[in-house]
């Protein structure tokens, strides 16, 4: 009795776990609990703990946005972009230059155009998208590794360009502008979140956080900012999720799995790739803006290639191709690899008296000869922030070796409009058209789609897309099935030989 009840509950839990939202909430919740405990251990007051969680939320939201955009590039379309930092930099710098007041005011600052914030943000996003277009137009023909080198070189050109003294101050069409060179730009425009902060209702939010957590106005603003970022993240998630389920998204997956098969179905794959690259770059620009536009300033150092690799680690933890995975990966990356080591160090520091570390590695290793590991431990502890990057690198290596598909990368995405699991045997739509439906199309595509060959869903992915890519997302079952069968009667022979000749 109890065992069946347990089993039932277990299957219930498992089916619950299948929901993406549940996974995200569970993991983020676990992160919150762990960090709340860390705060308690460190003796933080309530507002300190809530502020820690707020900071985590902010980081997860920002990294989540960029990871989602990268997932659109790599996970969905197979575009190997390792120039993420460059597009983020373009977004932020253009926005700041557009928003900075035209009258420089302070002696050391450079003038901007003094445009209103919403226009400046749109300008930054468009600029990042255009930069994506500039890279994509010529470079998409290249092999994945050449494309990668091109994108990272582009990102470095951007970074070196904004560092350069030559662009520190320049004049375009009579307007004096500047990137500030190596010293960067100072935010001398109003807090962009004032749109919200100056609402009447916001003062009650301040009172609420004050009574709940003992927050001051600054902390309340930071909290509101983080909440806004989470909302934007949700919006981007929804956008990308919708894109990936649309006919457009199905073509993207087809390109990732086998570009030639997609071409043989009449898709202009280059056009799709350019569109998706520009869209992803624009989102990266948006994330770059939201990441830092409230801070007191920005320097080019913020956009070193490190940032790109952080995003890649987050993407690979979560699993390329899964939007839920992107957010989970960002959460785990921020909590475990990015912030985790620092908090671990603080906790250890709080609990144990470590003592003074030797100044050099030699001083740490030397005493090992006389079997005294204490200096090495102390040195390791003192240099923990350096080791954090070693840990990140090793984590990336181990992930690629052991789990290249990440946590959620390797699961079938059912793109078909009808449930594939419980297909009615005779009268169902599966063999509706002319008898060469489901199984026939699977056979035709199996050669060219190794990743999903045991599941008919992605084959229908390709088949279910209209030639112009504008078909509705979810037709009725007859509708989508007739498309599948018509495509499979047209194409299976060609694509099968295509797959074999590779």
């Amino acid at each position: 009795m109890s065992s069946t009840a347990n089993a039932e509950r277990r299957t219930q839990l498992e089916s619950l776990w299948e929901h993406d939202a549940v996974k995200i909430i569970a993991v983020i919740g676990a992160i919150y609990i762990v960090y709340a405990l860390i705060g308690l251990i460190l003796g933080y007051s309530l507002d300190g703990i809530v502020n820690t969680l707020r900071r985590m939320t902010y980081l997860i939201a920002v990294y989540g946005m960029v990871t989602l955009a990268l997932n659109l590039h790599w996970g969905y379309t197979g575009l190997f972009n390792i120039g993420v930092a460059g597009f983020m930099a373009i977004g932020l710098y253009v926005t700041m230059i557009l928003a900075k007041p035209a009258d420089p005011g302070g002696a050391a600052q450079y003038a901007g155009l003094g445009l209103p914030m919403p226009i400046a943000i749109i300008g930054g996003v468009v600029a990042a998208g255009l930069a994506g277009l500039v890279v994509a137009l010529p470079a998409l023909r290249l092999r994945a590794d050449y494309f990668a080198i091109t994108t990272i070189a582009f990102a470095e050109i951007v970074r070196l360009g904004i560092t350069s003294d030559a662009l520190q101050q320049f004049t375009i069409l009579g307007a004096e502008l500047g990137t500030g060179g190596g010293r960067g730009l100072i935010r001398n425009y109003d807090d962009p979140m004032n749109v919200i902060f100056q609402l009447e209702i916001f003062s009650s939010f301040v009172d609420l956080t004050n009574s709940l957590f003992g927050f001051g106005p600054t902390q309340a603003r930071a909290l509101a900012y983080s909440i806004v970022l989470v909302l934007v993240l949700a919006g981007i998630y929804w956008l990308i999720q919708r894109t990936s389920r649309s006919p457009f998204g199905r073509v993207l997956k087809a390109i990732r799995e086998d570009e030639e098969a997609a071409q043989s179905l009449g898709k202009d794959t280059n056009m799709f790739k350019i569109k998706v690259f520009v869209l992803g770059c624009a989102l990266m620009g948006l994330a770059g803006i939201l990441w830092r536009f409230r801070r007191t300033g920005v320097t080019p150092e913020a956009f070193r290639p490190h940032v790109t690799f952080y995003i890649w680690i987050a993407l690979i933890i979560g699993g390329a191709g899964s939007n839920t995975g992107s957010i989970l990966g960002s959460g785990l990356f921020v909590a475990v690899l990015f912030e985790g080591p620092q908090y671990l160090r603080r906790v250890i520091d709080h609990l144990v008296a470590i003592g003074d570390a030797p100044n050099t590695f030699a001083g740490a290793v030397g005493p090992l000869l006389s079997a005294n590991p204490v200096p090495l431990v102390r040195y390791t502890f003192a240099e923990f922030l350096t080791l954090q990057f070693v840990i990140m690198g090793v984590a990336l290596i181990l992930l690629m070796q052991r789990r290249p598909d990440g946590l959620l990368g390797h699961r079938e995405e059912t793109a078909a409009a009808i449930p594939l699991g419980a297909r009615p045997s005779a009268a169902g739509g599966g063999s509706g058209g002319d008898g060469s439906g489901g199984s026939g199309s699977s056979g035709g595509f199996a050669h060219s789609q190794p990743r999903d060959q045991h599941d008919g869903s992605d084959q229908q992915t390709d088949g279910g897309v209209d030639a112009d890519g504008t078909g509705t997302q979810a037709g009725t079952s007859e509708n989508s099935d007739s498309r599948v069968s018509s495509d499979s009667t047209d194409q299976p022979d060609d694509s099968a030989t295509d797959g074999e000749t590779q």
């Binding site: 070196l160 030699a362 990057f389 992930l399 000749t501």
Partner: protein, 370 residues
Amino acid sequence: MSTVDDVVTRGRSLSTEQLLLIAVGIGVVLLVGDLILGVLDGSYSISRIGRYVTEGVLYGLIMGLAGIGLSMTYSILNFANFAHGDTITAGAFIGWGGTYLIAGWGAASLGHLALVGPQRGLGGPQLGISITSTPVAIFAGLLLAGVGTALFAVLIDRLAYKPMRGAGGIPLLITSIGVAFALRYLITFVYSSQSRGTTASVPSADLLLVDGYVSLDAHDGTLIAAAVVLMLGVHLMLQRTKLGKAMRAMSDNKDLALVTGIPTERVIRWTWMIGGGLAGSAGYLMVLWTGTIDWQFGWLLLLLIFAAVILGGIGSIYGAIVGGLVIGISMHMSMIWLPGGDFTTITAFLMMILVLLIRPSGLFGGKTTA
């Protein structure tokens, strides 16, 4: 590329390539014309151009030397190794530790010397390290850099890449980014992130060049001599030995090499050893030449080396050498038109992107010589 792809994209891609090629051609003609006119009317001094070319050649030799290893792993193991730059840094530190130990024996603690003087105070200039005053220490250090990095590269291969030998180029590339990260900060952990001087000044010769002087010092000469000897050595190894033949066979067709009975795993190990050894030597020579060492100079050099290798054509060691020289010289020549040195690196990256767009197989592409 398949036939389908060709048919779909031929018309368009040809025209883009041709347009780019025409644009680049016009640009080159304009620059060369401006250079000649400038020299003739005396606005560009010949000795200044001479200095740029000399510096470019020296820089290019380092990139070419380091590029050989990158090119070999790229063609034989079929992936772009992003950890190559940090291998260069590691080699430099290993080698310079040896040099410090020999040159400064007794002058400071062993730990201080082996870690290339991690703290302020007693460093290379104080120990009087240079090719003229401590030649033995320099040569021993160069040897140690080569051998030590060769073994180190094999160790990295064993730990990171060997478990995923069958994986494609992209997973290996991502793994190598992880290796680069771990390696770079491991170097910082051991050797500290302090940037420090390594050499004392050496006598230099001023060569008269029409309207001024080009100066070359003893370390420049050492760099040229060592780089040329190492490059010749690699050339002979690839052309004359059975190992070289096996490597060329593997870079041509791995499966065929395996079927023919070439012990691919052993060839791979030798590839790492030679590539790593050359990277370490290049790092050592770079530090000898510039007189400073820090934890990220190899990483900053990496994309330039990629530029050199891609320009020359991946898989060709001669391409890597020529590519290094071309990139080095153009980087420095760019200062004629873009003064200040802010744009030298940008010039190199732009050249690389242009080569990828116009002729992805590089100057020497098509004929893989190693």
